[in-house]
């Protein structure tokens, strides 16, 4: 089958690399930055085109395969959920790339940087679009390898190298465990295609092998999405990476892990089976994330812990196991990608201008960098779930989904944790607004960086007061996953 034009944007890393190389050779200033920004913008447009194509199909699924038909050929099966995920990824990648143009301008090896950035984004998109386990695994590794190098990008410092190595070991272990689990799924079903897998396994009586596969899937994807207690790499890796990369890692990479987990679990198991363990992990994850964030002194490390807590909230939606819960999950994935991405970009601007990430020494930054601080405030309020921001909307749906599926205690834990989390968000605001120490000087970040954060802040508030479109989008996505499973299977097999 012919590969449709929008999917050609998956070649963007190659284009960025070639143009960047050309620019360096021919001494054309900013060619690679231009190429990277344009390609990331094209990706957003391409996802939108795919969305339109998907809208026009009758059964809500787009099928593309290379060479042979499934099960042998690798294939993409794009449904609304994949589009939503890809949309979050490409949108945040676009913002991060634009931000990097200014933020990274004094670094060297920028061609590699932008190529890897594009590769990571393509990897995540591939995961979102994958139609079989093996395609998922290949793109998963593409995403992982790019992110290892990006975390350790500033290789002359010890911090990124240490964090990068730990991240590498943990994440590679996770990928290996996923691969191992795939082998067993293949062994039981004789195929790796999602639809056929689901057809063969879902509804079967559970046996020991399936429980083992379940455990492996949770561990493998859980390492990537930093479910406590497999989160230990995250607080090291996210702060040590360059800020745009932190934004991507915290905003979408961990969410991609969660996407993989949700997708495979729903294909293979009945929600009733994994409700309790996931609920337990959710409580553990959000509580530990919040408790650890309470007394952090490094602003980016604090945000990293807050990401762990947010993953806990998302797991609530998975634990609920209903279409409504999954809707809350992916609504929060989208909202969190904007909020956390922006929080990292804004704190990156602050660290960039003041040269420190220590919260205590940031007193009075609010007066010197008003716009950046305002953006950071909006992001933090959103993360805390204050009404009027998009964070409130998705958290509300998540917790009410928990109540709706008989997990009231989980919802209550979530609300309590949400309240707890405001403590450290408010602490940051308080420090930024305090009167500055003697001799402490900083100026507002460069226009481009401020502009990116401002646009994202506007998005946060806009989606907070006008959530209808994105809720509709997320509802369609969750319907595709939970209720549309038979259509999914029918479309692929029939």
């Amino acid at each position: 089958m012919v590969i449709p034009t929008p999917l050609l944007m998956m070649l963007s890393p190659i284009v960025v690399f070639l143009l960047g190389f050309l620019g360096e050779e021919m001494k054309i200033e900013k060619l690679r930055e231009g190429a990277a920004v344009v390609m990331s913008a094209v990706s957003v447009a391409a996802v939108y085109m795919l969305y339109l194509m998907l809208k026009s199909t009758p059964d809500g699924i787009l099928l593309f395969h290379l060479q042979a038909a499934p099960p042998l050929g690798a294939c993409f099966e794009i449904d609304m959920l994949g589009i939503l995920m890809a949309f979050s990824v490409t949108l945040l990648t676009f913002f991060a790339t634009l931000y990097s143009v200014k933020y990274m301008e004094h670094d060297t090896r920028l061609t590699e940087f932008y190529t890897l950035l594009a590769a990571m984004s393509v990897g995540m998109m591939g995961v979102a679009f994958a139609g079989d386990l093996f395609t998922l695994f290949v793109f998963w590794e593409l995403m992982c390898i790019a992110s290892y190098v990006l975390v350790a990008f500033r290789k002359d410092l010890w911090g990124p190298i240490e964090a990068g190595f730990k991240y590498f070991v943990m994440s590679a272990l996770g990928a290996a465990v996923i691969f191992f689990a795939m082998a067993f799924l293949y062994g039981m079903a004789g195929t790796v295609n999602f639809a056929q897998l689901s057809d063969a396994l879902r509804g079967q009586p559970l046996n020991m092998w399936l429980y083992m596969v379940f455990g492996m899937l949770v561990v493998g994807f859980g390492i990537k999405s930093a479910i406590v207690p497999m989160h230990t790499w995250l607080p090291d890796a996210h702060p040590e990476a360059p800020s745009p990369i932190s934004a991507l890692l915290s905003g979408v990479v961990i969410a991609t892990g969660l996407y993989g987990l949700t997708r495979v679990l729903f294909l293979t198991f009945d929600p009733g089976m994994f409700k309790l363990p996931i609920a337990f992990l959710a409580v553990l994850t959000m509580t530990l994330g919040n408790v650890m964030a309470l007394r952090q002194s490094d602003i980016k490390r604090l945000l990293a812990y807050s990401s762990i807590a947010q993953i806990g909230y998302m797991l609530v939606g998975l634990a609920a196991g209903t279409a409504y819960g999954v809707m809350g999950l992916f609504l929060h994935v989208f909202n969190h990608s904007i909020m956390k991405g922006m929080a990292f970009l804004a704190s990156g601007s602050i660290a960039h201008e003041t040269g420190t990430r220590d919260i205590k020494s940031l007193r009075g930054v609010g007066k010197m960098m008003p716009l950046t601080s305002l953006c950071l405030f909006i992001a933090l309020l959103g993360l805390g779930g204050v009404p009027g921001t998009n964070g409130f909307i998705s958290k509300y749906h998540l917790f009410s989904a928990a109540f709706g599926s008989g997990l009231g205690w989980l919802g209550i834990m979530g609300v309590l944790n949400s309240a707890l989390s405001m403590a450290y968000y408010l602490r940051i605001m308080q420090v930024l607004l305090a009167s500055p120490d003697e001799g402490f000087k900083a100026k507002e970040a460069p226009v481009l960086m401020v502009a990116v954060t401002l646009v994202m802040a506007v998005l946060i508030v806009f989606l907070g007061v006008w959530p209808a479109p994105i809720i509709g989008f997320a509802t369609a996505a969750s319907e595709a996953l939970v209720n549309g499973l038979s259509t999914f299977i029918g479309a692929v097999l029939g």
């Binding site: 390898i145 290892y148 010890w158 190298i161 290996a176 062994g187």
Partner: protein
């Protein structure tokens, strides 16, 4: 009988890999641990492909996946090794437990 041998080997490799990761201090050995777990997966795929044989041939799907996964594993380990090199430059040691400046 045959099945038991293969499965034992697969799980033995899997466990050895975990053991290696958890206990060893040398970075190179840790990379080897990852490789061992990946190979456990590869072995499992090969074994299951043989179970799904149709018409006298083993299932080509499992085999092709293994070939791709070996390539991917090579890439991952290459990145890991380059990280080890830089880690050695900074810390002057191969002991992974000396890498504990980042915590809490």
């Amino acid at each position: 009988m045959n099945d038991a041998v293969y499965l034992t080997a697969i799980f033995a490799l899997f466990s050895i890999g975990f053991y290696c990761l958890a206990v060893k201090r040398n970075m190179i050995r840790i990379l080897l641990g990852i490789e061992i777990i990946l190979n456990a997966g590869n072995l499992a795929f090969i074994y299951f492909a043989s179970l799904h044989s149709g018409g006298g041939f083993v299932d080509p799907l499992g085999q092709s996946i293994v070939i791709m996964s070996i390539i991917l594993g090579g890439c991952v380990i290459a990145v890991g090794l380059s990280l080890v090199v830089y880690a050695y430059k900074h810390f002057k040691t191969m002991d992974v437990r000396k890498l504990r400046r980042l915590k809490w």
